[in-house]
């Protein structure tokens, strides 16, 4: 597109040390059905461009939704002027950018059936049937289905000579059944998170059967008992629960901008400071976390990040030791890393990209181990599936998690369902208590589509994953 060259030439002429333009069109379709009432069927399109200028050790970022030569040139000028203002403050503490080469590439999320090509009526018919199948159970008072389809189409150019044409998309179904019984109300959710795939995934999920299952489980849950006072117990956590736990307790603490204090005023900082690199025992020896923006079907697999850095795969925690961070061109140079791991992403065209969690997952165990064998090997514990309440301090140390579905384990057997369970732990205690991880046959991904961070606030996406894993001696109990 002509605006790419126009903007980059203008930025260079003004004296930018580096500049890039990201023309981005984001299309979302959100369908929300509650108790057979279609509460929302909305398509939104956000189309515009953001221009970053680096000058004098500082950034300026300006955005616009008007496509014309005049508007593009004015936006370049605005970004440059802002960068100059920033530079006047950064005289004593200039930012630097890690070296990067130029790329010319086209990348696209592979999909067989584009969700945007599926007629709305087909989607709503499926959602209605799912709703009906849950409401057919006596005691289910609320049946909800959210369906999100999302597509980003980006053209990126930089003064390094990079030219990228990137299309990424995902789909995210979520089904909730809420039961009421004897003065209590409890929900059960089908939630595998978002996935960078097409409608074929929805077709493969057999959502009607999934809906019946969660309705039945909601009815079991609302009649279940809670645990008594908090005691130390064993936990077995499913991948669709562990996804959020690793997001909060490993993903965010290893974002380099937090480590540097760049999020101190809002999202918080990190206990995992640079002197701990290569020597800090974050987890037990079986704990290996990989950052991987090349992961097939991963929500952060875009080909390149918004610095124009290609997707990479690296160990963030290796054999339990803090190994490396997720970084961007500017944060990397603050610890003299000399290269970026390609974690700079913006949500919409009007967002300046920031350091985000990559696709991040726990490697499966290396010895054969099934979930059934793991439970059979556990004397006294709680098995947790699905996401619940989650909260962690701003240094990413102390946390408390709930879950969606709970079973008590006694002498190697699931003996009774539970509800209102919370566990409390902290870094590095929690990951050091991990003593078993099921093997790769049981590894599954979990996509987070709404990771909030930054000022102004942005919502990013990334995929986590694990096999079921066991944690010993964790504080577990019922809520109030």
């Amino acid at each position: 597109m002509k605006y790419l060259d126009l903007a980059m030439n203008a930025a260079s002429s003004l004296g930018a040390e580096y500049a890039d333009i990201r023309i981005q069109k984001t299309t979302d379709q959100v369908i929300y059905l509650r108790n057979l009432s279609l509460k929302s069927a909305n398509t939104s399109v956000l189309n515009g461009y953001g221009i970053r200028v680096f000058f004098g050790g500082a950034w300026g970022f300006a955005h616009n939704n008007v496509f014309s030569d005049e508007a593009v040139l004015a936006t370049v000028k605005k970004a440059f002027d802002i960068a100059k203002l920033s530079a006047s403050v950064n005289k004593k503490k200039k930012l630097r950018l890690a070296p990067e080469r130029s790329y010319i590439a086209t990348c696209k999320t592979p999909v067989c059936i584009d969700p945007f090509d599926v007629p709305l009526s087909e989607k709503v018919d499926l959602m209605m049937e799912v709703n009906r199948s849950m409401l057919a159970y006596e005691g289910i008072k609320q049946a909800v289905f959210y369906l999100i389809a999302h597509k980003d189409e980006k053209l990126f150019a930089s003064t390094l000579g990079t030219r990228l044409d990137l299309t990424s998309q995902f789909i995210d179904p979520m089904i909730i059944a809420t039961a009421i019984h004897d003065g209590d109300s409890q929900s059960r959710t089908f939630d595998e998170g978002g996935r960078a795939v097409g409608w074929e995934w929805i077709q493969s999920l057999n959502l009607i059967e999934k809906a019946k299952q969660i309705a039945q489980e909601a009815l079991i849950k609302v009649k279940a008992e809670s645990l008594g006072p908090e005691t130390r117990r064993t936990l077995i956590l499913d991948p669709n629960h562990l996804g959020l736990t690793m997001h909060e307790s490993v993903g965010h603490p290893t974002e380099l901008d937090r480590v540097l204090g760049w999020e101190a005023d809002y999202a918080g900082v990190s206990f995992a400071t640079p002197e701990k690199l290569k020597n800090f025992r974050y987890g037990s020896e079986i704990v290996n976390f990989v950052g991987d923006n090349t992961l097939p079907e991963g929500l952060a697999t875009h080909g390149f990040d918004d610095d124009g850095v290609p997707g990479q795969k690296w160990h963030i925690i290796k054999d339990g030791i803090l190994n490396e961070y997720g970084s961007t061109r500017d944060t990397a140079m603050e610890i003299d890393l000399g290269y970026s791991r390609g974690c700079n992403r913006a949500t919409y065209y009007y967002d300046q990209p920031i350091n985000r969690i990559p696709n991040l997952y726990l490697l499966p165990g290396t010895k054969p181990l099934t979930p059934a064998e793991l439970i059979a090997d556990t004397e006294d514990g709680v098995y947790i599936q699905g996401r619940g309440s989650f909260s962690i301090d701003q240094h990413r140390v102390n946390f408390q998690f709930g879950g969606d579905y709970f079973w008590e384990i006694k002498n190697g057997k699931l003996i009774r369902p539970l509800k209102k369970i919370l566990y409390k732990s902290s870094n590095p205690e929690f990951w050091n208590s991990c003593d078993a991880i099921c093997d790769e046959r049981f590894w599954s991904p979990f996509g987070v589509v709404n990771c909030g961070k930054g000022q102004p606030s942005q919502s990013a996406r990334m995929t986590h994953g694990s096999a079921p894993a066991r944690f010993r001696n964790i504080r577990v109990g019922g809520s109030q």
Binding site: V45, N47, A62, A83, A264, Q352
Partner: protein, 424 residues
């Protein structure tokens, strides 16, 4: 196209039986700084045109961010196509008609006239002040100019213009980290010297920290902390969710559900707080008493539910909690010991039906005993039920602008339920 032309275009080109549309324009300037440098600096306009339309009881909606004819054609056609394919909604409500809207003043000239250069000077001074005391400062300086125009086929027309200015600073000196922030529609009362002096005083008060175990203990919640819990309480106060049995508010309307000392309003009479003149459904904002001396008087309800159960549709458009006359010093003498809380962080719902929340303290916790502050303590986790907590309010202090849409006092609350501690 300009806003009026967009309205004309949509009115002329849609074939729908009914429609409502809102157009919002925002012009923002945002300077973010961290560890004594600017790390982000953003400026630009945003536009949102959202159209919801219906054929009979079949509805569809679309939004775009461009106002040329092609984009508006796409907007209308997409919403119409969705509506044609959507099933009839048993809860469909037609758009609202003409309404008399309250006069509000959400725009402040001082904020309108604030220039980027002046904002960067504020940032520079913030950093200079931190350097002068051998500290690091991180924060945000931002201003927003907002205009919203809404209209419907049935005759509703509403407009709002607003401004907001925000400046926040987190100071790190040694191991101590604490924050102050100013957020309001009006930039004029902002004084950096006052804000930084407050920040420095907070920081100095936190200099000597001692380990403190989680327990039930009296707390003095400063306005920023109290408002966070009460916002969660208002989100759980939804009339329909309550009537359908999903929240702790079920069956509590008209009853003394909260503590005597709590009254809660949405108001048009407090000039310092912003008040959007109409709701997303096209209903005028009006003086509303939600809680009066602990009695649950009203609950927010949309038009569909209000019609179904025979109540007035109401919406929360800001929060006003009248304060009392008790100073922090007097509060510290009312209980043997307790904690002073500046803010909370990462609040989440633990149990919707019980109304239970969890969260952490942030930006400084002070321990007091015998009427005096003794030392700072580590941050703590709470699991607490806000409506029950209001029954333990012992005293209220002076009310204060806690955010652009909330005026809230300091509160002394007994037996606040801390359940865990962290390392800092």
């Amino acid at each position: 196209m300009k806003i009026k032309d967009i309205e004309k275009y949509i009115r002329k080109h849609t074939n729908a039986d009914d429609f409502s549309c809102s157009i919002s324009e925002i012009e923002s300037h945002e300077t973010r700084f961290a560890q004594n440098s600017i790390t982000q600096h953003i400026a630009g306009p945003k536009l949102d045109i959202s159209l919801e339309l219906s054929f009979g009881a079949q509805s569809g909606s679309c939004s775009v961010n461009q106002s040329d004819a092609d984009s508006l054609d796409f907007l209308i056609k997409t919403a119409e196509d969705i509506a044609c394919l959507a099933p009839a909604d048993p809860e469909y409500m037609p758009s609202t008609g003409p309404a008399k809207l309250p006069e509000v003043q959400n725009c402040a000239p001082s904020t309108l006239n604030l220039k980027p250069k002046a904002m960067v000077e504020i940032v520079q001074k913030s950093i200079d002040k931190a350097i002068a005391i051998n500290a690091l400062v991180s924060g945000m300086c931002e201003k927003h100019l907002m205009k919203t125009w809404a209209f419907s086929k049935n005759g509703f027309v509403g407009c709002n213009e607003g401004t907001s200015f925000g400046h926040s600073m987190t100071l790190k000196k040694g191991e101590v980290e604490t924050k102050v922030s100013y957020e309001a529609k009006d930039y004029a009362p902002f004084d950096l010297d006052t804000e930084f002096a407050r920040l420095q005083a907070q920081s100095e008060a936190l200099a000597s920290m001692q380990s403190f175990e989680a327990q039930k203990i009296a707390v003095i919640l400063r306005p920023e902390a109290l408002q966070e819990l009460i916002w969660y309480l208002t989100w759980m106060m939804n009339r329909r969710q309550s009537d359908e049995g999903f929240t702790a508010f079920t069956g509590q309307l008209g009853k003394k559900f909260m503590g005597d000392k709590l009254s809660l309003y949405s108001t048009l009479k407090q000039p310092a707080i912003s008040a959007f003149p109409f709701s997303s459904e096209g209903l005028p904002s009006q003086e509303t008493t939600w809680v009066k001396n602990g009695v649950l008087k009203n609950m927010p309800a949309n038009r569909y539910w209000a019609q179904k159960v025979g109540c007035e549709p109401l919406h929360i458009f800001n929060m006003y909690i009248p304060g009392g006359k008790t100073s922090e010093e007097e509060m510290m003498k009312m209980v043997p010991r307790g904690l002073i809380i500046n803010r909370f962080w990462y609040i989440r719902t633990v149990d919707m039906k019980a109304g239970e929340l969890t969260g952490m303290t942030r930006d400084g916790v002070l321990y007091f005993e015998g009427g005096k502050v003794k030392h700072a303590v580590n941050n703590l986790r709470f699991n607490e039920i806000p409506h029950e907590m209001t029954r333990r309010i012992l005293a209220l202090g002076a009310e204060k602008l806690a955010s652009p849409s909330a005026i809230v006092p300091t509160a002394l609350i007994d037996n606040f339920n801390f359940v865990d501690k962290t390392t800092f």
